[in-house]
């Protein structure tokens, strides 16, 4: 039996409605069953469809549910699309989503009231619905619905602890920054429609591929606008500021939304539109540069952060930069592959950090951690595996995906970007091992009281950790480099249909751009760099308890302060945008609203009052007076009629 595609997003939607409407009344047991169960069933449903698809491969399957908007020659359907790209996304979105929901049961159980618990799972289910809609959409409009849906859920879940001022502010910030990106996406969508006359993915891409010369000129702008949307969603410089703050939400939220799935929607969208981007080399260049800058910029900031989740957040930003770097140089497969592996290990890292925070009763500052390895054995081991994967140590997943990206950049003949990527790889290894060292090795630096209560997380939390760690370890074998054989890169082979051949001079998809020898050398270099960063961090923080770093920071105090303050981007925005707007708003309020608008109203009211004061003497309350007046009016009318 084939499961219809719409079932997959519909199940989380049902879970959302159940949790929302009945959750508070029926209690946590019901919410757990409905919230996690719906995702579980959706995962099963999706995989029952995906397994044959992975086995047999195949082209795009479009399932049309209903016409949605029809106006003139503009028509939009509610229709879902299953092709290798969406299949890949759905496979890990459902699966990782399910694991994180499972983890949430253990993580949220003791913290929240019934109402809060129901709210949490309702939002999470709504998020899953939106994300799956985004991924499975067959046109830009439906994708935008999912796009906005995930943005909304992100906002709601960041502000989940809305009673805390900073959480509410972080949610607001995420929303506002995302709006900038969404604005770009909308404009890009309009551009696509004006260029192609349709918003259906299949039609747009086939038209673009069939007649590249005709559309190429306008596409640069359209692609840049679309990429603006992707920048907002995927936290690329300079719209990256919301993601670190988003850590104010519960940790499973950070893992699911702000690491594994939602933030990669931008990469997914750019990859989905590769047929357009490949026709706009200037836009591609911008994507690559923004990606590279974001990668190194965020990695540098991550070096100096002390909050465990902030480090991971900047790491996420940095890795997203990698993905865009890949897309920008045309290595879409590598980018998507990194999306996949990143989902595994970053989710694992976030969930691991959640376990640590959980164990320490809410403590997030690494300066008050340390020596947790023996107390949290499962968490420590899984965390270590995920860290090694992220750092790019073979044969773990991160190594292969990152190597694919670097190879792609190298092949695209972008030496500066390659250097940036390589250096970032080293930084990544460094800050991740700094994190591991500070957290798990050495001695415990927190208060004795907290230390006494440290305990391993419950099974619902450790099970997802183990599964994700396992996937982080072996996930890389799905996309072995080409040196291992022509068909070793299963991901590339599987995704091939998504990249339609475009016959335009200078735009052929490059294959075998790098010789096997060069490829081996590149691997060696990247492993060396990663290992160097790793060992340095190990040496500084595990063995010497961070003293070299302190010395280094002391010798460049201003630079260190700048990095620790995240290059003061927030402050810059505050001066550039927030304050002028706030000032303008005050002017509008005090002057325009109070004086002009209210003034008009008050003047009108004053006149009415005056007139009313004068006329009220006519209202005697005596019905006979009214009747008499009435009659006099009629007599007058009759006379007019008779005279006329």
């Amino acid at each position: 039996m084939t499961v219809a595609l719409w079932i997959v997003p519909a199940l989380p939607l049902a879970g959302f409605l159940l949790c929302l409407l009945l959750g508070t009344r029926l209690g946590k047991g019901f919410v757990s069953a409905a919230g996690v169960g719906s995702i579980g069933i959706a995962t099963l449903a999706a995989w029952s469809r995906l397994l044959p698809y992975f086995r047999d491969g195949g082209g795009a399957v479009v399932e049309r549910i209903a016409p949605w908007i029809t106006a003139g020659n503009f028509s939009v359907d509610v229709s879902f699309r299953l092709d290798p790209l969406s299949a890949l996304m759905v496979s890990f979105v459902t699966f990782v989503g399910f694991l994180i929901h499972l983890y949430s049961v253990g993580y949220m159980k003791h913290d929240e009231t019934d109402a809060g618990y129901a709210r949490y799972f309702a939002y999470m289910n709504l998020f899953m619905f939106s994300m799956l809609t985004l991924v499975l959409a067959n046109n830009f409009v439906l994708m935008f619905v999912g796009w906005e849906g995930v943005g909304l859920c992100s906002y709601l879940l960041i502000g989940y602890y809305y009673e805390r001022e900073y959480a509410a502010a972080a949610g607001r910030k995420a929303f506002v920054v995302n709006r900038i990106g969404d604005f770009g996406f909308l404009l890009g969508m309009f551009g696509v429609f004006s260029l192609f006359g349709t918003l259906d993915f299949g039609d747009v891409f086939s038209r673009a591929a069939a007649n590249p010369g005709r559309f190429a000129p306008g596409l640069t702008v359209v692609c840049l606008l679309l990429f603006l949307g992707a920048m907002g969603k995927s936290a690329q410089v300079p719209l990256h500021v919301w993601l670190p703050d988003a850590m104010a939400g519960p940790t499973p939220v950070s893992a699911l939304i702000h690491a594994a799935t939602m933030v990669t929607a931008g990469v997914y969208m750019v990859t989905r539109c590769n047929a357009l981007f490949r026709l706009a080399p200037e836009a591609m260049a911008v994507v690559a540069v923004i990606g590279g800058v974001t990668a190194i910029f965020a990695a540098v900031i991550a070096l100096a952060q002390n909050d465990i989740k902030k480090v991971l957040a900047y790491s996420t930003v940095s890795q997203l930069g990698y993905m865009f770097l890949a897309c920008g140089v045309g290595a879409y497969v590598a980018g998507m592959f990194h999306v996949l592996t990143h989902a595994f290990f970053k989710a694992c890292l976030f969930l691991g950090s959640g376990a640590v925070i959980h164990a320490l009763g809410g403590e997030q500052d690494m300066r008050r951690m340390g020596g947790l390895a023996p107390k949290l054995p499962v968490t420590y081991r899984t965390f270590l595996v995920a860290t090694l994967a992220l750092a790019g140590i073979p044969p773990l997943a991160g190594f292969f995906s990152k190597d694919a990206i670097l190879t792609g950049v190298f092949a695209a003949n972008r030496p500066i970007l390659f250097a940036v990527g390589l250096f970032t790889a080293g930084l990544t290894a460094f800050y991740m091992f700094r994190l591991v060292s500070l957290t798990f090795s050495g001695r415990f630096r927190g208060s004795a009281e907290v230390g006494a209560h440290v305990h391993e997380a419950p099974t619902t939390m450790t099970l997802p950790l183990v599964v994700l760690a396992f996937l982080s370890a072996v996930g890389g074998f799905l996309g072995l480099p080409e040196v291992f054989g022509e068909s070793a890169n299963r991901v590339a082979a599987f995704l091939a249909p998504v990249f339609p051949p475009i016959f335009l001079p200078g735009h052929e998809v490059a294959r075998h751009a790098v010789s096997p020898a060069k490829e081996w050398i590149l691997m060696g270099v990247s492993v060396t760099v990663a290992a160097a960063g790793l060992l340095l961090a190990w040496d500084w923080y595990a063995k010497k308890a961070g003293r070299p770093a302190e010395r280094l920071a002391a010798s460049f105090p201003r630079l260190y302060a700048l990095i620790a303050d995240k290059f003061r981007i927030d402050e810059l925005y505050d001066v550039l945008f927030v304050r002028p707007f706030s000032w303008l708003a005050r002017v509008l309020w005090k002057v325009v609203d109070v004086l002009v608008i209210d003034g008009f109203l008050n003047a009108g009211a004053f006149v009415v009052e005056l007139v009313g004061d004068a006329l009220r003497f006519l209202q005697t309350g005596n019905v006979r007076n009214y009747a008499l007046t009435f009659l006099l009016g009629i007599v007058a009318l009759l006379l007019i009629v008779l005279a006329g």
């Binding site: 006979r624 007076n625 008499l628 009659l631 006099l632 009759l638």
Partner: protein, 168 residues
């Protein structure tokens, strides 16, 4: 007795008792005068080939509405209107003037338009009910149903209005 004569007598009675109704200071007597007036009107309706309306006039107006008036008057035990020292003389004078003006205007317009605008017609067959009923339940069916809802609303409304407020 020709119909013409009957009409004149009935209309004359209607007008006469209408005058009595207005002039009489006791409300109960007023109601009774109005009953007679309406009864006479019913007779004119019969002569105008509308026997159904005549019957409805008697049943509803004389039999129900005016009984209701009587009922309320008896319930409230409304006293005779006492003639106070001139009751707002300006109002009375103005009213009288306006009424006279209105009557004159009415008469004038009657002369100008009334009689001439009606199409002359032959003898009307004695009113049969079936065509009226058919019209009522086909063309005016919706209004008829709306009317039933109005009556229900009036029933509920009057009940609510007249209910004695329960003492707290």
């Amino acid at each position: 007795m020709t119909p013409r004569l009957v009409f004149d007598v009935a209309a004359g009675l209607a007008i006469l008792f209408a005058c009595v109704m207005v002039v009489h200071r006791h409300p109960v007597k007023s109601v009774l005068a109005l009953v007679v007036s309406f009864f006479a009107l019913a007779v004119t309706y019969v002569l105008l080939a509308a026997p159904l309306i005549a019957a409805v006039q008697v049943i509803v107006y004389a039999g129900a509405i005016l009984v209701l008036f009587l009922f309320v008057l008896m319930l409230l035990n409304v006293p005779e209107e006492v003639r106070q020292t001139p009751d707002r003389p300006i109002h009375q004078a103005l009213s009288a003037g306006a009424i006279v003006a209105f009557a004159a205007a009415l008469l004038a317009s009657l002369r100008a338009y009334g009689a001439t605008r009606a199409a002359p017609s032959a003898e009307l067959p004695p009113g049969d009910l079936a065509p009226v009923a058919r019209l009522l339940f086909s063309d005016h069916f919706l209004s008829f149903e709306a009317l039933s809802i109005l009556l229900l609303a009036a029933l509920v409304g009057s009940f609510v209005l007249a209910r004695r407020e329960e003492s707290p």
